[in-house]
Symmetry: C2
Subunit: 383 residues, 2 copies
């Protein structure tokens, strides 16, 4: 399968890179933010609306699609792109995170992992080989290897053994790869231990992966620790392969990670917050249900050009939210995703123009993020 | 306020009429079907999507909007059209049906009705004058007078007294009307009694209303009785005013009522059925959750040109429904409303071309409707 990563420009003041990834379903710019399409839909939106807010690539959850409707069903229906009417790139995760966060009764062995479906309690057994096969059948553009997502905190010996297993699984995933398969990314684990992160990264980069993800962060650790993990890890990753920070994060998290050399991000934050009435704006987060907006004629964000801000008042959005209307989730999701995509485009543009430090200065006092003392947490996995 | 009803063509074989209604927010063709926008949104859709499926006029529920966010709030925000971003005609009901079906502790007097909100239990008092004022403040194009919706079955004496009260309320509604007010429609009641229906219609048509609704049907009575009520009533209604059958119905109900001289319809059926996975098709109703559609690549209706049928398979729609995804409600609602609007356009075209009998022949064996032995019922009031 076609896969190419090209670095277009490097930021002189940070490790940020402007790049472009080519796949069989077209190309997209990096740094990129991937909205989460858990069950074959980015919740509440159509593909056309995703394109309209600027989305170039989305994430699909292997765990969910494997359980329902089943990867073989999707395969027989022409693959995930056809099934969900999205003809641009799709990255699928490995299901590792969901097996360890959503499913019941999971039991791990060297060979694979047994778990119980969170939907109907049925028993399933997945191996690294099977997970590659599932993503192949889905017709993903970028696939992830099966990993064990290590909880935080975890003792050193456990993390060491688990990381070693993830690395073995990565090797096995490579061995069964076919030429027509999706691009395959490895996942660096190693918990919060510097030597294990370094060892994981060093071992994986010796193999023939097309990209590298940093897993096992945003699992409840302090933000400062997430930064350390990024620092330990990225310095061992090759320049010429994309780097993917899984499950992150707030706009500020993303900007900082870009400056540490990360290219890809996914997170449920903009979509889930939207459904909960929490909106990102140029002057900070807004909880649309607040009484102060009851007769507020202004758009959510007066400098925003999204469909929602062009046509609807805060008062109407508050009404829809309180009345539990489906349109509330839609309009809020459009706004939040537009905000994120605009933010990412701002980062891309700033790298291109050499203004990333200014961009950071403008946005580091920005109140959309978690506070510094907050812990990084993926908030589970539902997009 | 501008309001004009023009009959363009009468069907030679039935009482059907092709017409056009002009309002301050543009005109629309009759027979017309009004999707229900209960709380200031036709559930799950944007105004642009309504236009795309062919909707020309929508209904708003006075009861719901009065309670939340409040008509005065909507008035201060520029009126209902501005508030919900819909610049075409809006008909608002009087709230009568909802007061008698949704609210608790209702108490009726000659002067008005006291009831408890279904949202927070708060007490409210509405008079016919207040109901006109609310619809005036909303900026409705067509307003309805407050009526008492009589349950089925009800004893003669009760129906007689109630119908007389509705007529008194209609008189009072007219008395306070201003020149800039919405067009005002009276509501014929009279339960299932021929003499009371006739008396109600005859009394109301002597007054200066711009249109006449037939209320108190689709409340659980047999279909044959609804037909009788239509027959008794319409013969006393003036030719040159639009006739509105409230809360009806299936495509077959609508077609039959058109042939009995009805011009306007509203019903939650296409939108609510959509959210419940029940789809209208050219070959009958389809329950999209059925296992037979699990790998069915075909669109819902192979001869349908709606957005949903152009881009999505039955298998995907089944998946979205089972996964409880918001997109399920959206895509199903688009399809069902498109079906209804297409059906109405077919009726209009058939009257224009003089083919209504053929149209009826084609559609009378059509399996989308309730069975003849089913009772007519509005299924409560939520769109």
């Amino acid at each position: 399968m076609a896969f190419r990563f090209e670095i277009i420009k490097k930021d002189p003041f940070s490790k940020a890179r402007l790049g472009r990834i080519e796949t069989n379903h077209g190309s997209f710019s990096t740094p990129a933010f991937l909205p989460v399409g858990t069950q074959g839909t980015v919740k509440s939106l159509t593909p056309e609306e995703l394109v309209e807010v600027g989305v170039e690539v989305i994430l699909g959850n292997t765990y969910h699609l494997y359980l329902r409707p089943g990867h073989e069903t999707i395969g027989r229906l022409g693959g995930l792109h056809t099934f969900i009417h999205w003809n641009r790139p799709i990255l699928t995760d490995s299901g590792g995170y969901q097996i360890f966060s959503l499913s019941k009764l999971r039991k791990i062995s060297d060979d694979g992992v047994t778990f119980q479906s969170h939907i109907d309690g049925s028993l399933h057994y997945l191996t690294p080989e099977k997970v590659v096969e599932i993503q192949r059948t889905l017709g993903s553009d970028i696939a992830m290897v099966l990993d064990e997502c290590i909880p935080y905190p975890s003792p050193y010996e456990y993390v060491k053994a688990s990381t070693s297993l993830t690395t073995q699984w990565a090797t096995r995933s490579l061995e069964i790869r076919k030429e027509t398969d999706p691009a395959l990314f490895a996942i660096v684990q190693g918990g919060m231990y510097q030597d294990l992160r370094e060892e994981s990264a060093q071992t994986l980069v010796k193999m023939d992966f097309q990209g590298y993800a940093i897993g096992g962060v945003s699992v409840g650790e302090p933000k400062s620790l997430m930064r350390s993990v990024l620092e330990w890890t990225t310095s061992f990753l090759p320049e010429n392969a994309p780097r993917y920070l899984m499950g992150v994060g707030t706009p500020e998290d993303i900007l900082e990670a870009v400056m540490m050399g990360i290219d890809l991000f996914d997170c449920v934050l903009p979509t889930r917050n939207a459904r909960n009435g929490m909106l990102f704006t140029s002057i900070g987060k807004m909880s649309i249900k607040q009484a102060q907006y009851a007769e507020d004629e202004r758009p959510v964000d007066e400098i925003c050009a999204c469909y929602t801000c062009r046509h609807y008042s805060r008062a109407y959005l508050r009404h829809l939210y309180l009345a539990n209307e489906i349109l509330s989730s839609r309009l809020n999701t459009i706004h939040n995703l537009y905000y994120y995509m605009n933010f990412i485009k701002g980062i891309q543009e700033a790298i291109r123009e050499g203004h990333l430090l200014d961009f950071h200065k403008t946005h580091c006092s920005h109140p959309n993020g978690l506070e510094p003392e907050d812990s990084a947490h993926r908030l589970s996995t539902w997009g």
